[in-house]
């Protein structure tokens, strides 16, 4: 990836983060922590990786993305809006009565959302069904799904992993956002899912371990995913929950809480400064 391209992605990711803060602040509710930890991934998927067209959100041959950790919808919505699926202004209607931007993704109301999710563990199963169907129908599209590291405590996730390997879903790419925190505390303390890569390998996955805030590493991992044949691919990305907003970083309390007006100003100030820095370089 060229430095110019990387810079563009970093700028887009910063705007996605601002979209998350705008939405969650306006809603006075929502999940900023996990939206921010996955903001770089959302950006990479929608601005580089996925074969999609905002003008044709229902194109039958498009790549699919399933946000299995559906509570981080603010991050997905921000990426979709900035990519042109719907007006960025609408992010402020998040979770409001009458808004199409439901608290968790709804495939029937939000352009660009490929599966309704929110109940943890189910998105990855749906992604398996999409990948299986794509193969059966002779489609070349690929299916991507993002899970939280707390989410993989759900048993259904491992039913899906078994299914993906058994049915040789090499058009499926499972991404785990390992930000280390869930609602009740550190994932290691609540119900340790570790070691994650070893578990995935034991379930037959080819696995890449990356820094989830490094676009070069993402590019290499997604390229490897496409080259891998006969088995499904998983990317375990180390991330920082709340990434980009100083007081939210690595703070479990910011899993599912909205910033108040003063906190909003601080967060937006920090992100605007980051954006200005990137644009000045």
């Amino acid at each position: 990836m060229t430095e110019t391209e990387k810079k563009k992605l970093q700028i887009a990711a910063c705007r996605v983060r601002m979209g998350v803060i705008e939405g969650v602040h306006a809603a006075k509710a929502g999940h900023p922590g996990g939206s921010l930890s996955a903001a770089d991934l959302f950006t990479y998927l929608y601005f580089k990786e996925l074969n999609i067209d905002p003008a044709r959100p229902k194109d039958p041959d498009r790549d699919r993305f399933v946000l299995s950790k559906g509570h981080t919808a603010p991050g997905l919505y921000a990426a979709l809006a900035l990519r042109g699926f719907f007006p960025v202004e609408d992010l402020k209607t998040l979770r409001q009565i009458g808004s199409y931007l439901q608290g968790h993704p709804n495939m029937n109301t939000v352009p660009g959302v490929d599966m309704s999710t929110g109940s943890l563990g189910q998105g990855v199963s749906a992604a398996c069904g999409m990948a299986l169907a794509a193969k059966h129908m002779g489609k070349t599209c690929r299916v991507y799904t993002l899970l939280g590291d707390g989410e993989i405590e759900e048993g259904e996730v491992w039913e899906a992993m078994m299914f993906a390997h058994h049915h040789k879903l090499d058009n499926l790419c499972v991404i785990v956002d390992n930000n280390g925190l869930q609602i009740d505390g550190r994932v290691a303390d609540v119900m340790s899912p570790y070691p994650i890569p070893e578990k995935l390998r034991a379930f037959g996955f080819e696995v890449a371990e990356i820094d989830g805030h490094d676009f070069d590493q993402m590019e290499a991992a997604f390229a490897k995913a496409k080259e891998t044949k006969g088995v499904p691919f998983a990317i375990v990305m180390k991330t920082t929950k709340g990434k980009g907003v100083s007081y939210m970083e690595n703070q479990v309390g910011w899993h599912g809480k909205a910033p108040n007006d003063a906190e909003y100003e601080q967060a937006m100030g920090e992100l605007r400064a980051q954006l200005a820095g990137l644009e000045a370089e």
Binding site: S125, L132, M137, F163
Partner: protein, 312 residues
Amino acid sequence: MADVKKIATRESYGNALKELGAAHEDVIVFDADLSNATKTGTFKKAYPDRHFNCGIAEGNMMAVAAGAASMGLVPFASSFAMFAAGRAFEQVRNSIGYPHLNVKIGATHGGISVGEDGASHQCCEDFALMRSIPGMVVMSPADDVEAKAMVMAAYEHEGPVYMRFGRAAVPVIHDEGNYSFQIGKGEVLREGSDVAVIANGLLVAEALEAADTLAEQGISVRVINMATIKPLDEELVLKAARECGRIVTAEEHSIIGGLGEAVCAAVAESGIPCKVKRVGVNDEFGHSGPAAALLKQFGLSTEHIIEVIKAF
């Protein structure tokens, strides 16, 4: 009815799937290690490349089916009623019902007539669970002819459908030659004016027998086969309420949340003076035993329907 042809509706389901598969390339089938029992194995034999085993993981199967439906295929997902509606309830609710995806759930081994396996496998709650999901069509056929027609209708219907089939062989009461099935429409099998029995599943044949017996005693019983529990054919229910003034519901399901309660709600809200009695499983678990003996013991029988009618 000794010389009447008897077929289990799960057999009908398997045969119908095979027929459907021949006509429609987009039909695929998911099963959870029960294809010999659910009879999706019949489809598998004919179309092995369109039958996918999910292993013993019903929750995953339902969401997998949802994903496949979102791609434009028409998946039929099968397991026993206990696991399809019970174990996988939340996947059915959130991944199929909420996005209103085009998944057809073929649940076999519903009700007490599962028999020897006992209470853990005798699902008498599936109608209640599935009825509570917005947009879900819930059906249970009375015999082979209706079961096959129902599967075809489910394919033509756009949206989620739950169908319950039985393990035990039941009499064939319909004439295949001049039969048509419509989702949401009940069927008057016998005219009558003193009391109406509204039944589904294997209780329909029992209700017909009860009507025959009571006719000899001068009691005129209308028998309605209500294969679709949701959406309920309220028009037909209220007509019966108006014209008969007494209704008995009969189903192989808990009296809580099934056809009986659906009929009660329709009648109560109509304001039509009509008493309704429910024949079903009375808020208790089943137990092991031969199906025929269990059905008698739990009052899911001609004799009990007659008793209830006479006690009005």
